[in-house]
């Protein structure tokens, strides 16, 4: 339904514009602050006219926080999370929607529960597991007395250990293991007509073939959406990378921003901090702009 009411149109536009201003204002201030020199940025109130030190500040921020390798780390982590999430979600949703096996509902609820337990809630056990991935198995072996038995029989002491601290897999894997994407795909798969599945069966395609040849191409826009969301989510992670990267070589850009924030009693270099923020914000912005075309394409061509 299209309403033609000029007054209402005007009001909605005003509201939209106000919302836009509220969303964009912080970015503008960050950009302006990053162009000031040390004195101007600490003026109260800060001048809203851009200064001339923008490139200098950017350069300083880049070298101070060593952003090059950190951005690369962030990029690897975010891409890994996005790709892993897209693949795992598609596979789990495929299993839940298209197969009937014992325990299917149970598994469905297990996945569902992870929605209620985000990483922050289970961060201590997750840290313990990442510190030694095999510790749950070790516990099982110890509790059942199997490790005692093995030691008695073979004389080998069972001590399983595989640590993922300070590694990309340690950064990535725990962030993949949540259910949001699974449900997104599940909803999409449920809208794929049954006839299509049956047509593929009549054409002789097995389950995996159907998944790869029909379902995945159909869910391209879904993948783009989920991938983008997950990229942003992983890029913005702070707590988890901070916790498991004790070694500078695996720190991410977002956690390293902290280095640019002036300490109490230190030089208040807010212009440098803002410049660093701008740099770190840039990659997610590029991803969104690039992916937006896909969203629009997906919205126009409802290929169903």
């Amino acid at each position: 339904m299209v309403e033609r009411t000029p007054i209402l149109n005007f009001v909605t536009h005003v509201i939209l514009f106000l919302g836009f201003l509220m969303a964009v204002a912080p970015f503008v201030i960050v950009a302006i602050a990053s162009s000031h020199n040390l004195k101007d940025v600490n003026d109260v109130p800060m001048s809203l006219l851009p200064g001339s030190d923008f490139w200098l500040n950017i350069k300083t921020a880049w070298t101070t926080a060593d952003l090059g390798p950190k951005l690369l780390n962030s990029f690897i982590m975010a891409t890994g999370v996005a790709a892993g999430k897209v693949i795992i979600s598609a596979l789990t949703a495929f299993s839940i929607v298209y197969f009937r096996y014992p325990g299917r509902t149970f598994i469905f609820w297990l996945i569902f529960i992870t929605l209620m337990l985000p990483l922050e809630v289970r961060i201590v056990p997750t840290y313990a597991v990442v510190a030694n991935v095999l510790s749950p198995y070790q516990t099982i072996l110890d509790l059942t007395g199997l490790s005692w038995l093995i030691e008695k029989v073979s004389g080998v002491q069972v001590s399983l250990s595989l640590g993922l601290l300070n590694s990309y897999s340690g950064l990535i894997l725990p962030l993949i293991a949540t259910a949001t994407g699974t449900f997104l795909y599940r909803q999409f798969f449920l809208t794929v007509p049954d006839e299509l599945t049956e047509a593929a069966r009549m054409d002789g395609a097995g389950a995996l073939r159907f998944f790869i040849d029909v379902l995945l191409p159909l869910s391209r826009t879904n993948m783009a959406a989920l991938g983008t969301i997950m990229f942003l989510y992983a890029w913005n992670q702070y707590l988890w990378p901070l916790l498991i990267t004790t070694d500078q070589s695996h720190a991410t850009a977002v956690t390293e921003l902290k280095q640019l924030i002036p300490n109490v009693g230190g030089i208040p270099e807010w212009n440098i901090a803002m410049a660093g923020t701008l740099i770190v914000m840039l990659p997610p912005l590029i991803v969104i702009v690039a992916m937006q075309r896909w969203f629009v394409r997906g919205l126009i061509a409802t290929e169903k």
């Binding site: 007509p193 006839e195 299509l196 049956e198 047509a199 593929a200 069966r201 009549m202 054409d203 002789g204 395609a205 073939r209 040849d213 029909v214 191409p217 159909l218 391209r220 061509a301 290929e303 169903k304």
Partner: protein, 366 residues
């Protein structure tokens, strides 16, 4: 080319049984149409032949091989779906050739066969298009092409024409018929549209409530319906049914207001029968003519080539189809006349056809 043998096939879901023991023999190269109202189990039966539904009881054999446990791809059937079920992201050529690709047919041969099928169906200029960019009739043809390319033993059609507009449906109907004549492959076609069924079928299977009501040529089904259900389901407008009671010297109709002087030939006095007369078998005569029933005109439906006249016969609604140039006014009285040969008798209890009255006088006095 293959024959299909269906023996006592049943289908039940958790709570309800939807197909109750169907027996059917389909000869090699035959075009069989399964006709029935929605929910009668016709699609389920077809899907059991295809292998998309498990068979709960009985067995289905294609070419003498029992296929109950075989996957759809191993049965040699191809199916055309109601909504075409084309893969939206593939071009027409990819859609048609997908089964060959899955089967690992080399690309060169695949292209050759796609070309051949496209030529048959006049789709050559559309091969690069996506299904989105096709009209309903073209999509229908692509769906047919996808079935044809595998050179299947059996073609299965699940109401493939029901999404097309009336004109296209008639056109596709004759195309399917022509295609069948050329390929001569065994075909099973499911529909709820009786015109489609009558025009396409070598043999017609009428189903109701999970059971087969009658199997026969379209002529047999129309002229000698085996049950009251078949009689009223096939034919448009539907056959008129008048309830009657068998008496010593005939049948009393419409609660005793009319009498049909026929021999009761073995039926017990007092038995309830249903007398069916097709609207097109009724002739209009002047009111008061001897041997005719007088009735009041309710409504006249103009069909162009003819007209359907709905009349009120002592409270019962009755329709007459005529091609004569008569235009009785609503409210006027007309005489209705029909021959005994045109009457069908069914038991009111079981609905089965009764043949007992046929040895009677040719024109009953009413």
């Amino acid at each position: 080319m293959a024959s299909i043998t269906i023996r006592d096939v049943k289908k039940s879901y958790a709570k309800s049984q939807v197909v109750h023991g169907v027996d059917l023999d389909i000869a090699s190269g035959e075009f069989v149409v399964i006709l029935g109202p929605s929910g009668c189990g016709k699609s389920t039966l077809l899907r059991m032949i295809a292998g998309l539904e498990e068979i709960s009881g009985g067995e289905i054999a294609i070419d003498g091989t029992v296929v109950n446990k075989l996957e759809p791809r191993e049965r040699g059937c191809a199916m055309v779906f109601q909504n075409y079920a084309l893969y939206p992201h593939m071009s027409v050529a990819q859609n048609i050739g997908y089964s060959l690709k899955v089967a690992g047919v080399p690309a060169a041969e695949r292209t050759r066969r796609i070309q051949a099928v496209a030529r048959t169906l006049e789709l050559e200029h559309l091969l690069d298009r996506k299904p989105m960019a096709l009209s309903g009739g073209q999509r229908q043809r692509v769906a047919m092409g996808r079935a044809m390319i595998r050179e299947p033993k059996v073609f299965l059609f699940d109401e493939p024409l029901s999404n097309l507009d009336a004109k296209l449906r008639v056109q596709m109907r004759s195309e399917i018929r022509k295609l069948h004549r050329r390929l001569n492959a065994t075909s099973v076609f499911v529909t709820h549209d009786q015109v489609e069924a009558m025009t396409l079928a070598d043999r017609l299977v009428v189903m109701n409530g999970g059971r087969v009501e009658q199997v026969g040529t379209p002529g047999e089904i129309y002229n000698r319906p085996a049950s009251r259900f078949v009689a009223t389901f096939v034919g448009a407008p539907a056959m008129n049914i008048l309830e009657g009671t068998v008496e010593l010297d005939g049948i009393s109709l419409l609660g005793g207001s009319r009498r049909l002087a026929v021999q009761r030939a073995g039926l017990a006095v007092g038995a309830q029968v249903a007398v069916g007369i097709r609207p097109e078998a009724v002739r209009l005569v002047a009111p008061g003519t001897a041997g005719a029933l007088d009735a009041t005109v309710d409504l006249v439906e103009e069909l162009g080539a003819g007209r359907v006249i709905y009349v009120d016969l002592d409270g019962a609604s009755f329709s007459v189809m005529t091609s004569e140039a008569v235009h009785p006014d609503p409210g006027s009285t007309v005489g209705l006349r029909f021959l005994l040969d045109d009457m069908h008798f069914f038991s009111s209890q079981t609905g089965t056809r009764l043949e007992v009255f046929k040895a009677s006088v040719p024109e009953p006095a009413l």
